[in-house]
């Protein structure tokens, strides 16, 4: 377009200005994608915890940590408002946590399939294979989350080794964008066996593997208040920490909101700097074209037209910078995800919404930045402008 030629007048200057916007948009896209990923993780967790209470050993967190007993499940089940209690065993897939982990580290999750008696509302969809069943108890079979499956490069029917024990893959989950992607689901007995091996011999000897649990998932009766149940659990059983949906939202939600804000904040600040550079560039451009503006006004260009020209040009700078920034951001997020794939870490979720709004934002920023120089240009007296040295 003709106006692109105007940008070509001062190629270095235009390039530098566009680069400024590009960097800002790239930051926004990359950090925005990170924030998207975090949001998906948290949303998944929030939805999961909303309608239940999860009990862990005191000092433990979300099932990781100390040991509970399956017998406690009966105690809890006896409390008012409690419908079903499902004991489970959770342990880390691997003890060395090297590399970046966004959200949950890879875990082994064990429970008796079907013990929730249909109370669990969190949907798990299977890409291939099948879900675990109660009949699988006693066997070493596993359903892998999508990220773990990719990390192991495993397919249904193949064998994977979890903590030194071979498991047969019977199912692989669809991506959920949250915790299940990074988990290996095994039957309760198998998990208990794996767990007891992690304990020091002195402790392990005193425990009955079949009674080990690290968490109790408590499903409330319809209409029961999870908060009340949590309080009752605290009162009646010692050494445990119950967590409700509200607790989760409070703790995790607050932290991730802060993280989101920081990430987006960084992106916006870089963009602000980019925007200021556009204002500067357009102001210089207008000053250099003073005579030309004078001539255009003299031969009949209205003030509005002059303004329009300048604003469109600066919007173009924004648009080009935005598209380039999006492209660069796309490359970075794709490379980042590829690099993290081996450690089952997907860091970025570049949604269509993020992409579109980034470019739109860049364009609008460009146009807005051009507005002040445009106004100034349109107010020039044609005669004075014509004579400008």
């Amino acid at each position: 377009m003709r106006l692109v030629r105007d940008l070509g007048r001062r190629k270095l200057r235009s390039t530098l200005t566009i680069t400024g916007i590009m960097i800002g948009i790239m930051a926004l896209v990359v950090f925005g994608s990170m924030a998207n990923k975090i949001d998906a993780l948290v949303k998944g967790g929030s939805t999961y915890y909303k309608d239940k209470v999860v009990v862990s050993a005191k000092g433990g967190y979300m099932g990781l940590g100390g040991v509970l007993s399956t017998k406690m499940a009966d105690q809890v089940a006896a409390l008012g408002g409690v419908d079903v209690v499902v004991p489970g065993v959770e342990l880390l897939l691997s003890d060395d946590q090297s590399g970046v982990s966004m959200g949950t580290p890879p875990m082994i999750n064990g429970s008796v399939a079907g013990a929730d008696k249909g109370r669990e509302t969190f949907q798990l969809n299977y890409a291939t294979g099948r879900a675990l069943t109660a009949q699988d108890e006693g066997r070493n079979v596993v359903v892998l989350g999508s990220d773990l499956a990719r990390q192991f490069n495993a397919r249904v029917g193949e064998t994977v080794t979890l903590r030194g024990v071979k498991f047969n893959v019977v199912g692989i989950l669809e991506p959920t964008l949250t915790a299940p992607d990074n988990s290996a689901m095994v039957p309760m007995a198998a998990a208990q066996q794996l767990f007891i091996k992690t304990l020091p011999a002195l402790v392990a000897d005193k425990l009955d593997a079949g009674e080990i649990a690290t968490s109790l998932v408590v499903y409330p009766k319809p209409g029961a208040d999870t908060q009340k149940i949590a309080v009752e659990i605290n009162a009646s059983i010692s050494g445990v920490t119950p967590m409700t949906g509200a607790d989760f939202d409070q703790e995790i939600g607050a932290a991730t909101s802060m993280l989101n804000a920081i990430l987006i904040g960084i992106g916006l600040i870089s963009l602000l700097v980019g925007g200021l550079s556009v204002i500067n560039t357009m102001a210089m451009s207008v000053a250099e074209r003073t005579r030309e503006i004078g001539i255009k006004r003299a031969i009949g260009a209205s003030r509005w037209r002059i303004r329009r020209e300048i604003v469109i040009e600066s919007a173009l700078i924004g648009l080009i910078g935005g598209l380039l920034g999006l492209g660069l951001g796309f490359v970075i997020t794709t490379l980042g995800n590829d690099a993290g794939r081996d450690s089952a870490t997907i860091l970025f979720d570049l949604t269509l919404g993020t992409a579109f709004s980034s470019v739109a934002f860049a364009t609008i920023l460009g146009a807005t930045a051009g507005f002040i120089p445009a106004w100034h240009a349109s107010r020039m007296d044609p005669v004075t402008a014509l004579r400008y040295e």
């Binding site: 003709r2 030629r5 105007d6 070509g8 007048r9 005579r291 030309e292 001539i295 255009k296 006004r297 003299a298 031969i299 009949g300 260009a301 209205s302 003030r303 037209r305 007296d381 044609p382 005669v383 014509l386």
Partner: protein, 255 residues
């Protein structure tokens, strides 16, 4: 018939708090359709200011005394808004300046089409009109060249084409030959005269160049913000002007 008439035209510029310049001190002027008129005078005589007012680039001062009158083809244009004046300039007038006439990033044709754009002529029609205008000045084969690829004389001819393309009622030229050597000047002058003689185009020129003045139907001489001599149609010119002291000074000053 008078295409442009003005009376009681005054213009004072305020350069700073204490520095004002009375550029025009009450000018009466009448330009007939089909005339080619030169306005000449020493620096500070107000000739450029007069042209800016005639070209509706500036409005005449409202005056404490008699109100200014300015008519274009009989219409009152003395007290129009900036937007209204801009519209008239776009549709009914053409301008040629001394230098830097053209937009450097546009081709010759695009420069000419700029005037079409502002005049509300679009698309195919604009392209057609642009090419016609360029061929009138003999540059149709340079339509795709940018100003940097054209000589000074050619650039000026493109500017003339641009001034013509919207078929204006009047063309105003401010020192159109000022930056050209004598050969190119003669070329440009000949072109303007052709449009005047053969197409009846009304042209008003501001110039320092006596030769340009001689090529015109009459020369209006200004001094100190006033018109000293409205000039006579070609035949009666030289002797009466030289006979008066003011005339002699005016001629000497422009030499």
């Amino acid at each position: 018939m008078a295409i442009l008439e003005g009376r009681n035209l005054c213009k004072t510029y305020r350069l700073s708090r204490r520095n004002t310049v009375e550029a025009l001190k009450g000018v009466e002027i009448s330009i007939d359709q089909g005339e080619m008129v030169a306005i000449m005078g020493p620096s500070g005589s107000g000739k450029s200011t007069l042209m800016h007012i005639l070209g509706l680039l500036h409005a005449p001062d409202p005056n404490h005394g008699p109100a200014p009158e300015l008519r274009l083809a009989g219409e009152d244009v003395a007290a129009l808004s900036d937007n209204a004046r801009t519209k008239i300039r776009a549709r009914r007038m053409g301008f040629v300046f001394q230098d830097f006439n053209l937009v450097p990033t546009l081709t010759a044709l695009e420069n000419v089409q700029l005037a079409c754009d502002y005049a509300g002529i679009k698309g195919k029609q604009a392209r057609q009109a642009g090419l016609e205008a360029l061929s009138l000045v003999g540059l149709e084969d340079r339509a795709g060249h940018k100003p940097a690829e054209l000589s000074g004389g050619e650039q000026q001819r493109v500017a003339i084409a641009r001034a013509l393309v919207n078929k204006p009622e009047i063309i105003l030229a401010d020192e159109p030959t000022g930056n050209l050597d004598s050969d190119r000047s003669a070329e440009v002058l000949a072109l303007l005269r052709e449009f005047n003689r053969e197409h009846g185009q009304t042209i008003v020129l501001v110039t320092h160049d006596a030769e340009v003045g001689e090529a015109c139907d009459r020369v209006i001489r200004m001094r100190d913000g006033r018109i000293r001599d409205h000039g006579q149609p070609a035949t009666a010119a030289a002797v009466p002007v030289m006979a008066t002291a003011a005339g002699a000074m005016a001629v000497a000053a422009t030499a």
